[in-house]
Amino acid sequence: MLEIDNLNTTIGDTEILKGLSLSVNAGEVHAIMGPNGSGKSTLSQVIAGHDDYIVTSGSVYYNGKNLLELAPEERAREGVFLGFQYPVEIPGVNNAYLLKAAINAKRRHKGLNEVDAFEFLQLAREKMEALDMDPSFLNRGVNEGFSGGEKKRNEIFQMTMLEPHLAILDETDSGLDIDALQAVAKGINAMRNPKRAIVVITHYQRLLDYVEPDFVHVLSEGRIVRSGDKTLARQLEEKGYDWIRGMADA
């Protein structure tokens, strides 16, 4: 589903990704781990299409399409979802309104009928219950006054509502307490599907105890230096990132 080949990107004058390659197929759960500054967030932003990041060489193909040619909203409508590391607040626009607009934008793109308010609310209530969320938050401004944990739960909630084909979750687990973590993990696991690929970007092993990945990749200094299965994550936890840096130099 996702083919990244030898990707190089810069932001301003700084090179961040230096020859990153990655292959993700439908039905798979990948974890990407790495130290700060390795380029984890850059990767997710580049896939989402943030124009601060310039791709200097390499390619990104999504279901055979050149993803880099599509605008961010087009990528989203094609089924790419990014769970932001720092979800932004949008006061005055309530969560329900944004989500309904997003769902309908996607449906229009696919030539489907739009959902009406009633359908939307029913669906939303269902998904919120599964995530242990208070339904009143639908009326609140997007992420307005949300705690870190609530923001991350909101990202997962949006994911469950939008049903993407490719979900990239950028440090969705950071700042969560055990209860929130378990709720989030539950949400992610419920999204597992032979037609869907999930890429979890994380610092810590913790989330991966609940969301078992099929593949683990280690990102260091702008590229993937090692790939393996879930045991790799455990090794990393034990040996630390210096172990990886050693590998990168090799």
Binding site: A48, G49, E73, F84, V88, P91, A101
Partner: protein, 490 residues
Amino acid sequence: MLEGSIKPMSTEPKYIESLVNRRYEHGFITDIDSDNLPPGLNEDIVRAISKKKNEPKFMLEWRLKAYRHWLTMQEPTWAHVHYPKIDYQSISYFSAPKSDEERPKSLDEVDPKLLETYEKLGIPLHEHAKLAGVAVDAVFDSVSVATTFKEKLSEAGVIFCPFSEAVTNHPELVRKYLGSVVPYRDNFFATLNSAVFSDGSFVYIPKGVRCPMELSTYFRINAANTGQFERTLIIADEGSHVSYLEGCTAPMRDENQLHAAVVELIALKDAEIKYSTVQNWYPGDENGIGGIYNFVTKRGDCRGNNSKISWTQVETGSAITWKYPSCVLRGENSVGEFYSVAVVNNMQQADTGTKMIHIGRNTRSTIVSKGISVGHAQNVYRGLVKVMPQAKDVRNHTQCDSLLIGKDCGAHTFPYMEVKNPTAKVEHEATTSKISENQLFYCRQRGISEEDAVNMIVNGFCKDVFKQLPMEFAVEAQNLLNVSLEGAVG
């Protein structure tokens, strides 16, 4: 063709980054024979206007007093707006469509070209007015053309007619109330208006009557160099209630056009007036050339105890907007409200706000002002909350928010608070914010286009004002906002 023209606003040698390709929807000129007076202003012109309207003596005398006083006045320059000097002698002060000679008694008698104009402007006087139950008094180039629903309103005892008609048919009401809220000496533009006002709306709601429908009027400036000087007078007698909608459109022109209207509202004991405006005058092109100058005096007098006057406006047009819809809170327990969304784009300028003058005891005022600046535009909020010494237990709350879109626009706030009674509670809150790139990216990553994202965020910003608008207007207002913001985020 008329000689002379107001010189267009000079462009600054700055490169304007944000591209605005908005084609002003209502940009066209009706090809109708207008009965214009030659340009220029002198006593003869004032007399001619009065004569054309068959006005009684008292009206002519009032006009002349105003005109003579105007000659002694200086044009004010304190506002935070810049415009080339207006040549008052190059404006024609009267323009009417030919079919004015015999007033049409029904829509069937109206010049079909005019009706076509209204269709284009989205004012189908026929079905829409009937379905929506809105009585439309269409003012076309200084003369009111059609008034519908007169019968229905007269059943309720409501008088809703062109101002010129009121002068002839209800002179006692006009004499009693005209100039009692905005005296003819009030300010330069109001004085000019008092001398040369063309037409407008007159509304009188009798005691205890709740006006059965929303009253509405449309304005339109057509002929070049024609100053539009509307005069509107609304009187809500004791215990009555009325909601009035004012919506404007104007065609695309190259010369600037002066619009100096005066609106007076009087609410007697226990009465309530709700006055809503959606203003869409031609704002000038992206270089600031050719837009309307909207220098308006609007004031409401809460004359009776427990009365209430509420101003709601959505202003997206005009090259320059200079207006302060205000409330004089005379009656005890009276309430004044001001809800405003003002959008300026490209080279538009706005210096607007409100004045709440608290004279009576236990009076309250609420001000919610939302300013949106885009492009190189400058938006100024100027507000006065004045509490007189005898006004005990006054409460005011002001919320003044500015939204800046882009790097080159500006928002300025000049709040004035003159509180002369120690029991008053006056609160002022102000915020300034931007639409951040991160907010836009977030929306786009959810599949929402950038334009829709801007609209969503701006609508969220304006929510508190929009919810004050009557339903009919709220949708128009939102669409208007969306159109004004096209190309805002470059």
